[in-house]
Point group: C2
Chain length 221, copies 2
DNA sequence: CACCAATCGTGTAACATTTCACAATTGTAG
DNA sequence: CTACAATTGTGAAATGTTACACGATTGGTG
């Protein structure tokens, strides 16, 4: 699902070495379902079976994925939900709040900057950049929009590692280059174009049209 | 594969069931890059090598993927860009314009409905639904927002097969059920929750937080 | 015309991922 | 205290995906 072209992962101090990226991609999904169970509050433990049923994944896959990081479950009873949430947050380095830069404050950047869903999931939109004089200076979700000219200085100074890119396709590669040059190591881009980044930088793509196109193949006329 | 199976596959009008979904997922990316080449307009042909370099994919993978659908290239010269675009559009059933329903006209649904990028890529936001009396009746991108109560009637009547879902997590499953019951077969959802749908219905997920979480694993602290 | 560089399509090998199936462990009920 | 149902973690088998390597074909050049 997901799109192709991601840079190769650097090693993490912990266990990162031989964990397949495809497994890493499933952990946020597990975490999301587990946090939902916490909210529901009607159970203390769950099983790989129950979790898998909710997510449409086999129980064996969940057990195997989790076993790459440790023994989190208990035979006969399953997984303690709160404990597993904690462990997944630790593995994914979500036991902190990452400041994120939003580049592009058009319709989409505006909507995402306002999105309340980052809270409690590890992220906070901390800076917003745009190149439109009308937009610069306005506040979005309590954050002042800065001119994109100051991007390098701010990101370097604040050691920002994560950025979201919501600019036109024509500007995406240049801005990605500037983000990388400013120390950003993870980019979530909404521009409908593949961008090239050096090794060690991760890119995730979100192109609604490409996602729709992936489904029409299966539709009847 | 035996010879018999091979010839059946060749003659079968419906090649869909032997094609891995992961290949289908790459075709829109190829198409996107090829359409960009068309826009650039400086070349008539391209090669699997050039395309792969742009996308960070091996040339062999591109050749193998395409070869599942036919022989589109020519030894020595590569692929005729316009022809390959046409073929990919045909394969992905993008040689028409699919009407899409947008469910949820909050910040995100609003932004997506306004997004100009659907044009010329096979889609058109044709209906917008919301449950907020303030929003219903307003126009977004020239489309009148209807009350979600009328969803079933409209989608059935218009035979809509594709929907985008931009509603809170708590409402997502119920609305997905209603979409499916109304004949929708492909759902692109922005709600941060896994939804369950019957066989034959495709779902694509776009949860910005999950995508960010997938990258933090690789970041240094 | 003969040669050569470019490039495809593809069989096969290598590698990656998922599923299976079961011993081991746990908590519970009688 | 024992029997049992639930459930994990995991080695091995099955399945799926990618990369390699090469014959075949093409168009261009001398």
């Amino acid at each position: 699902m997901t799109e192709i072209e991601e840079s190769i992962a650097e090693e993490s101090p912990d266990v990162a070495h031989d964990i397949p990226d495809i497994v890493i991609g499933r952990l946020p999904i597990y975490l999301r379902a587990l946090m939902r169970m916490v909210e529901e509050g009607d159970k203390v433990t769950t099983s790989s079976q129950e979790l898998g049923d909710r997510l449409g994944v086999s129980s064996a896959q969940i057990r195997k994925d989790l076993s790459l990081f440790g023994d989190f479950g208990k035979q006969g009873t399953g997984y303690h939900i709160n404990y597993l949430v904690q462990q997944l947050q630790r593995i994914l380095k979500l036991d902190r709040e990452w400041p994120v830069a939003m580049v592009g404050a058009g319709f989409l950047g505006h909507a995402l900057a306002n999105y309340g869903g980052f809270k409690n999931r590890g992220f906070r939109v901390a800076w917003i950049f745009d190149n439109d004089p009308e937009t610069v200076g306005q506040k979005i979700g309590g954050i002042m929009v800065r001119h994109v000219d100051g991007l390098e200085r701010v990101l370097r100074r604040e050691k920002v590692q994560i950025a979201m890119l919501a600019v036109p396709a024509t500007a995406a590669q240049e801005l990605a280059d500037r983000l990388v040059a400013s120390g950003v190591r993870a980019i979530l881009t909404y521009a409908p174009i593949s961008i090239n980044v050096p090794e060690g930088v991760k890119v995730q793509y979100s192109d609604p049209v490409a996602q729709l196109q992936r489904m029409t193949f299966y539709l009847d006329v």
